[in-house]
Symmetry: C4
Subunit: 254 residues, 4 copies
């Protein structure tokens, strides 16, 4: 079951879909929410699915809303941008295909022919200078994004793209669309929102969109993350020490 | 698959849907069954779903019935009340969305525009004087229920409402309905039916409906619960003592 | 997905559906297959479902067939009998509801208004003289089957009937049908096919159908089961002895 | 959800469907890919399903594609051949039935009446001279394939065929098609692609198709597999030695 709530029906000029949903390092969601905020994009549609969790959120005004994905837009000179972000990705494989199909139908009707999806690519350790890896629907797109600093490794490290960022390209390609997935290298643990990785992706967007993005707050967030990771590592080491203590000290736990 | 059995087709005047299905502390189900009983409400419809368990119950007359949700009604002066209770909530996420959609369609056809859902909110320890927390579809409803003793914490402790009580509001809102979820604080363990929490919610209903409810039997049930909890705690402590005995005493088990 | 293969379209006179599918003690399947065999019933339809396992069986002629449920019939003087048995019950809850609905539609079109389902009711130990318990769709059916030796315990021990035997009655009742579930007491372990329990149910059928059934082979099977159970118990006791040996003797397994 | 991408619409003469998808020992996929390669078959269609994993692959050119099953064809003198292979089998039971139904509809429209499916049959140890076992939709097919070296064991060792190789025959039979499953004996462990088993099946195809297949590269692959298995066994033995060491040496791991 897919339900739509349409707030506004703008007319788009050569719109590009830019997707960033929750995922590893939260790189996609953070990047797209940053663009929405900085470019002052406006919400125009929401989509609901029975493959999202069966609960409502309670916000800071005690008002409830269902889990949802949201569409924002901003008008540009060379092309308009449509942003897709949200609370969740689908919780089931079938649901992933279903909602991606419906989203592609929806944006195709808005005139979308190009898609940029954003995600994280988990690496060992904390990347101090994260690279942005790319994978495309059509080989001819590679050169354009290489110029903007995207690395193409030809499937060497990244063999697949899981979830919305992958399916939007894969199913979109079947519908005659073209696109790229931008993957920021990030620390492969859950729970962290990786501002440094997101910043690396935003630098690609800055070149792609031909605009300057103020990313000072991203630097602040990146430093906060460093502290959090350092702390987590300390806790982990303490934990490991306890767990590897000789057996007899643990005998009352069994 | 959703199947309906309609017993009666009453004409309703400004009907409000009041939902209480099985859940934490059984606060919702107990509260709504209490209102059905005290207000002498009459069953007029049943709904069956393939997302309920695939068994039948055998009742005290050796007669079988499928798991179901039931609709009762009572006519009022200011407005009619429709009650929703039942044996189960859906067993799958998709089923939750499906049955909620169908129930909302059904009650919309009866003229329902307002919904009150009832649930429990699990806290540590046994609340001696449980509060009733609220979350609404529209901010303007808050004042009305604050006056009736409902606490609005703006998502501080309760961040989400899981299941029917949440989805009825979330999906109902998309259909132009408005409503509130009343959550009685309760002991966050399964198996207990918390009469004291239910009584707190009933006091809100008493003010909302402008009627006096005889709740002496609720007090009796609350005292029975206290005894049951005390007993359970003792058993638990005995169990913990056994589990934390030195290893060698356990060697034949382990 | 439900697929039908119809071999024959007999015209039925007051047909009764008698169901016995795999389940606890295999009482249902064994009983119905026995009746099919002794009454020389003829297969007239098969039903396939995507909720059965996704494999084919290879038979003794190296020929494959999909898992299926099968319909047999025999013409009678007072009424015709339709038997339902098969390889499997549905593997999912939704599948249980779907196939039961489709089967009920199918037999309703054949004129079926009465249903007898057969199952096992697991008890502790091996019942030497298993009782046959009953549960009905309508109270007025009780007297008729009490006369035939069925025990009605009013939900005391059996609180629910899981699977096809329950759903056929529960969903059938919603379609205006009436019926009974006959449950033979049986040893509550998987793997055993309980001929003695099945024999007890067959004695009810003998009275219901007004015919004499030669059950000498059932006695033979019951004795084989006794031997198998005795052997299994011995193995179990040996296993338990090993498992409860002092720790040090086990140290090389860890 | 099933999506098709049709590249070409050839007219077929008496086409036979030959299926080999991933499975035990990868016998099916390897065999069919070998035939596609050696017979220079041409891709003419692809099928996508929401029961395949929800990711895209990234290939060696950094280009993405969805998991898919693919159809190839080659024209023959006596009959045309349609090959079915792919990245995955369905991930859910329902999905298996759905995609098999759709594939059968598709090939029925191409004129297919005969189906040969290929799989592995796991045995203990590494078969040095693997047999090819068969199971058919219709008994009369047995003689034809016995002549080509296929063994029919009448369900003695193989009692069922799981997945696409089984369902294509089972569901195809319901649609009036006929066919055989060829199962190469193979080492019953995952991860290995068994060239020797595949070679045994190819020898059956060689007789069936009346052509000579150059299988020298299969011999090379079989030898590589022998080495890999020998290595894996050594590792396993080392592992077992460690795991069965006396307890006290392991005390720091717990």
């Amino acid at each position: 079951m897919i339900l739509w709530k349409i707030h506004d029906r703008p007319i788009f000029y050569k719109p590009v879909l830019i997707e960033g949903l929750p995922g590893i390092g939260n790189v996609g969601k953070m990047t797209v929410e940053y663009l929405i905020d900085k470019l002052n994009a406006k919400k125009f549609a929401e989509v609901y699915s029975d493959n999202f969790p069966y609960h409502v959120f309670i916000d800071k005004k005690s008002v409830v809303h269902l889990p949802r994905n949201e569409f924002y837009f901003v008008k540009g000179k060379k092309r308009d941008l449509i942003f897709l972000t949200g609370d969740f990705q689908s919780m089931t494989p079938q649901g992933h295909y279903e909602i991606t199909e419906k989203i592609l139908e929806f944006v195709k009707n808005q005139g979308v022919k190009s898609i940029i999806t954003v995600g994280g690519f988990g690496v060992e350790g904390i990347p101090k200078d994260p690279k942005v890896l790319g994978a495309v629907t059509h080989e001819k797109l590679i050169e354009e994004f290489k110029e903007k600093g995207v690395i193409f490794e030809n499937g060497e490290r990244v063999g697949m793209i899981v979830g919305a960022s992958g399916l939007l390209l894969g199913l979109g390609k079947l519908k005659g669309m073209r696109g790229i997935c931008l993957m920021g290298e990030t620390f492969s643990r859950p729970m962290f929102t990786d501002a440094r990785s997101s910043k690396a992706v935003l630098e690609v967007f800055s070149k792609y969109l031909g605009i300057t993005l103020d990313m000072s707050d991203m630097n602040t967030k990146a430093k906060e993350l460093d502290k959090a990771i350092t702390k987590a590592k300390e806790l982990e080491e303490q934990m490991m020490k306890k767990l590897t203590k000789p057996r007899d000290e643990l005998s009352y736990i069994g």
